[in-house]
C-alpha cells in the first residue's frame, strides 16, 4: 500500500480559510445581537444608538490613542488569558486570577522599592520574575491543596482572591504605604512611586502603550510552544482531556494539575507586575481592573489557544475602551457598558454551538472522504 501520508497531513496543515471565516462570523453575529439589545436600552435612555455605537468604534479604533489604549487593555487580558489556557487545558478551573494579579503586583512593587538602587537592566527583569513567582505561589497553594488534599479549586481560588485583597490592604496601609501620604497626612491607599529605571518603556509617546504588550505577545508564542511542542505541555493537555488515560501512561496527574494552576498563577502574576511597571508605576487599590475574570472570557473566546487569545483579548479590550469612549460621548451610565458586555459574552458563547456543529460536519465529511487511504 503506497502511502501519501506526508502529502496528506501537509494538506491538513494548510490554512483553513472557511473555518476561520465561520469561526469569526458567528461570534460577530453574537456581538451584533448583544449590541442590538443594547440599542434598545440606549433608546430607552433617549440616546441615538447609531451615534453611540459610532463612538464606540471610533473610541476603540478610530485614533492612534484609541488603538493604543485598546492594546494597553488587551495586555493584561492576554496575560491572564494565557494562564487560563494552561489551566483549562489541564481541566482545572482557575477563578483565582484576581488574587494572583494582586500577588504579582505586590511583589513587583516591593522588589524595586527594596532594591531601588539597582540599575534598570537588572531590576526590571528580576521584578518581572519576582512578579511571576508571587502569582505562581498564589496559584500553587490551590494547586497543592487540590493535588494533595483534593480541595476543589473553584472553592480555594475564590477564597484566595479575598485573602489576596486583604493582604494588599494590610501592606498598603503599613509597610508599603507611600511615605509622602503619611507626611502630607492624606494616608492614601497607594505605595510610593517606583524608581523610574524599572518602568517599562512607552512604545508610543503620549500614550500608555508600553513594552509589556510586546512581552505579552512573546509569552503567548512561548505558551503555544509550551503546550504543543514540549513534553510538559503534552502531559498537561493529556491530563486535561483524560486524567485516567494519562495516569495509565505514567503521567503524574495531580502534579500536572498543580503545575497548571501554578503556571496560571504565574501568568496572572506577570499581568499584575506589568500593570504596575507599565501603567500605574505603583501599587494601589483596584489594581486588578477585573482582569482576573475578563481574562477567562478572553481565553475562552480565543478557543483556549494562546495565539487565539491574542485577537480575543484585543477584541475584548476594544469593547471595553470603546465602551468608555461611548460613555463619554453620549453620557450614559457606565454600567450600561458592563451590561452590554455581559450580553456579548452570553451571545458569543451561545453562538459556539453552531460553530461547533459546522466544524464537526466538515470534519466528518473530510474524514469519510479520506477513510481507508491511510
Amino acid at each position: 500500500m503506497p502511502l501519501e501520508v506526508n502529502e496528506k497531513t501537509a494538506r491538513t496543515h494548510r490554512i483553513d480559510w472557511a473555518g476561520i471565516f465561520v469561526n469569526l462570523l458567528l461570534p460577530l453575529a453574537g456581538i451584533l445581537m448583544a449590541l442590538l439589545i443594547g440599542a434598545i436600552m440606549l433608546i430607552i435612555l433617549k440616546v441615538n444608538p447609531l451615534t453611540a455605537y459610532a463612538e464606540l468604534v471610533k473610541g476603540a479604533f478610530g485614533s492612534a490613542s484609541g488603538i493604543t489604549q485598546t492594546l494597553v487593555k488587551a495586555t493584561p487580558l492576554l496575560l491572564v488569558g494565557l494562564g487560563i489556557c494552561i489551566a483549562f487545558r489541564a481541566s482545572v478551573i482557575n477563578i483565582g486570577g484576581e488574587g494572583q494579579i494582586i500577588a504579582g503586583a505586590i511583589a513587583a512593587t516591593w522588589w524595586p522599592l527594596t532594591f531601588r538602587t539597582w540599575p534598570g537592566w537588572i531590576l526590571l527583569p528580576t521584578t518581572l520574575i519576582v512578579g511571576f513567582a508571587a502569582g505562581a505561589a498564589w496559584g500553587f497553594i490551590p494547586g497543592i491543596l487540590k493535588a494533595r488534599l483534593k480541595v476543589n479549586e473553584i472553592l480555594s481560588t475564590v477564597m484566595m482572591n479575598a485573602i489576596a485583597i486583604q493582604t494588599m490592604n494590610l501592606l498598603i496601609r503599613s509597610v508599603l504605604m507611600d511615605p509622602a501620604g503619611v507626611t502630607a497626612g492624606t494616608y492614601l491607599a497607594q505605595s510610593e512611586r517606583l524608581p523610574e529605571q524599572v518602568w517599562l518603556v512607552r512604545l508610543v509617546p503620549q500614550t500608555l502603550l508600553h513594552a509589556g504588550s510586546l512581552i505579552a505577545v512573546v509569552l503567548a508564542v512561548l505558551v503555544y510552544i509550551f503546550l504543543w511542542r514540549t513534553t510538559l505541555g503534552y502531559r498537561i493537555r493529556a491530563v486535561g482531556f483524560n486524567p485516567e488515560a494519562a495516569r495509565f501512561s505514567g503521567i503524574n496527574v495531580p502534579f500536572n494539575q498543580a503545575l497548571a494552576l501554578t503556571l496560571a498563577g504565574g501568568f496572572s502574576g506577570i499581568a499584575g507586575a506589568i500593570e504596575v511597571l507599565g501603567v500605574q508605576h505603583r501599587l494601589l487599590e483596584g489594581i486588578t481592573g477585573g482582569y482576573g475574570f475578563s481574562g477567562i472570557v478572553a481565553a475562552l473566546f480565543g478557543g483556549l489557544h494562546p495565539l487565539g487569545t491574542i485577537p480575543a483579548s484585543i477584541l475584548f479590550g476594544a469593547l471595553l475602551v470603546g465602551g468608555d469612549s461611548m460613555q463619554r460621548a453620549v453620557q450614559v451610565p457606565n454600567s450600561l457598558i458592563s451590561a452590554i458586555l455581559g450580553l456579548v459574552v452570553l451571545f458569543v458563547v451561545g453562538s459556539a454551538l453552531w460553530t461547533r456543529r459546522w466544524t464537526a460536519k466538515r470534519q466528518i465529511a473530510a474524514m469519510k472522504k479520506g477513510e481507508g487511504q491511510l
Binding site: 433617549k46 490592604n169 497607594q190 500608555l208 468608555d324 463619554r328 453620557q331
Partner: protein, 311 residues
C-alpha cells in the same frame, strides 16, 4: 443626555470630571458631582456650564484615556477626582498647557502652572463629630465602622477619636474595618456588632456605611454621625450631624481664575475655616442646645487654631 447647542451669545464653560465610583455613591464621588450640579444651577444651567462625567473609573488606564480625551475635546477644566490619577494628570497636563487640571485628593501640583491639587482635612469634621458624640453617649461606648484604614476614612476616624478623647478619655471607641469599600452586608453586621457590644453611637466612612446607618435605624435608639455627604436622609431621626465636603467654593474659584487666565498652580484643602468643610446638623434630630454649643465651640476653636487636630 447630550446637551443641545445653546443658541446663546456666550460660549458655555466646559468641565469634565472623572470619578472612581458612581455619581450616586452617597460619598466621595457624589460630593463632587453634587457640587458641580449646584454650580451649574448657579451659573444658569447647561447653556452656561456644560458638565461631562466618566464614572466607575477605578481602573487607572481607563481614567487616563478619559482625562486625555476630555482635554483634547477642549474642555476648560478637567477634574481627576481620585488620588490614584496623579501620575496620569502629571503626564497629560504637560501636553495640554491651555487646559486646567484639578486632581485630588492630594496636595501635589507637580509644580505645573495648569494643575490644581485638592484635599479635605477630614480629621477636622471628625473631631467635631467626636466631641458631639462624646457629649451624647450614655453607654460610654462608641462604634466606628470603616472600610480600610487609609485615606480620609483613616483621617476622619483619627480626628473623631481625638474629639471624643478631648471630652472624656474614658469613653470607649472601638473600630471595625471590613476590608472593602463596597461590602454593605458586612458593614451592616459590623454596626450591629457594635450595637450588641453596647455602643449607642456609630460613625464611619465609605459608600458602604449606608449599611451601618441602616443598622442604627433598625436598633432605633442608636445615633449616627456622617461624613463626606449629608446622610440625614437615610435616618432622619438618628443622624445627629454630618461633615459635608463642599467643593463649590473651590470650583467657583477655579472657574473664575480660569476665565481670568490663571490655570492652576495651587493646592486647595477643604477646611472648616474656608467653608470647604461644613458640619450639617440634622434638623430632624433634637440636639440639646448645650451640646450644640460645645460643637460650635469646637468648630470655632479649630478655625481659630486654638485646637489642632492631627491627621
Amino acid at each position: 443626555a447630550a446637551p443641545t447647542a445653546a443658541p446663546t451669545q456666550a460660549k458655555a464653560f466646559r468641565i469634565a470630571v472623572v470619578m472612581p465610583s458612581a455619581t450616586t455613591d452617597m460619598a466621595f464621588s457624589q460630593s463632587m458631582w453634587n457640587a458641580l450640579v449646584t454650580i451649574q444651577k448657579e451659573m444658569g444651567g447647561e447653556a452656561a456650564l456644560e458638565i461631562k462625567y466618566s464614572e466607575n473609573m477605578f481602573n487607572v488606564p481607563d481614567a487616563a484615556t478619559a482625562i486625555r480625551d476630555y482635554a483634547s475635546q477642549g474642555f476648560d477644566v478637567v477634574i481627576a477626582h481620585g488620588s490614584q490619577y496623579g501620575s496620569s494628570v502629571q503626564e497629560i497636563a504637560k501636553d495640554f498647557p491651555k487646559t486646567t487640571f484639578a486632581w485630588g485628593t492630594d496636595v501635589n501640583t507637580f509644580g505645573m502652572p495648569n494643575v490644581y491639587a485638592y484635599t479635605a482635612a477630614a480629621e477636622e469634621g471628625g473631631y467635631v463629630n467626636g466631641v458631639l458624640a462624646a457629649k451624647l453617649t450614655k453607654s460610654k461606648t462608641i462604634g466606628v465602622t470603616g472600610p480600610v484604614e487609609v485615606g480620609d476614612a483613616k483621617t476622619y476616624i483619627d480626628g473623631f477619636v481625638q474629639g471624643v478623647a478631648a471630652v472624656d478619655p474614658t469613653i470607649k471607641v472601638s473600630k471595625t474595618w471590613t476590608g472593602s469599600f463596597s461590602d454593605v452586608a458586612l458593614m451592616t453586621e459590623a454596626a450591629k456588632t457594635h450595637i450588641a457590644a453596647g455602643a449607642d453611637i456609630l460613625t464611619g466612612s465609605s459608600q458602604s456605611v449606608v449599611g451601618s446607618i441602616g443598622a442604627a435605624k433598625d436598633a432605633g435608639n442608636v445615633l449616627w454621625f456622617g461624613t463626606q455627604q449629608d446622610q440625614a436622609s437615610l435616618a432622619p431621626n438618628l443622624v445627629v450631624a454630618s461633615q459635608v465636603y463642599d467643593w463649590t467654593g473651590m470650583l467657583r474659584e477655579i472657574i473664575a481664575s480660569n476665565k481670568a487666565g490663571t490655570l492652576g498652580g495651587k493646592t486647595y484643602t477643604l477646611h472648616l475655616s474656608n467653608d470647604g468643610l461644613k458640619i450639617a446638623y440634622n434638623s430632624g434630630y433634637a440636639l440639646p442646645a448645650d451640646v450644640k454649643a460645645v460643637g460650635d465651640k469646637a468648630i470655632a476653636d479649630i478655625i481659630s487654631g486654638a485646637v489642632k487636630v492631627e491627621p
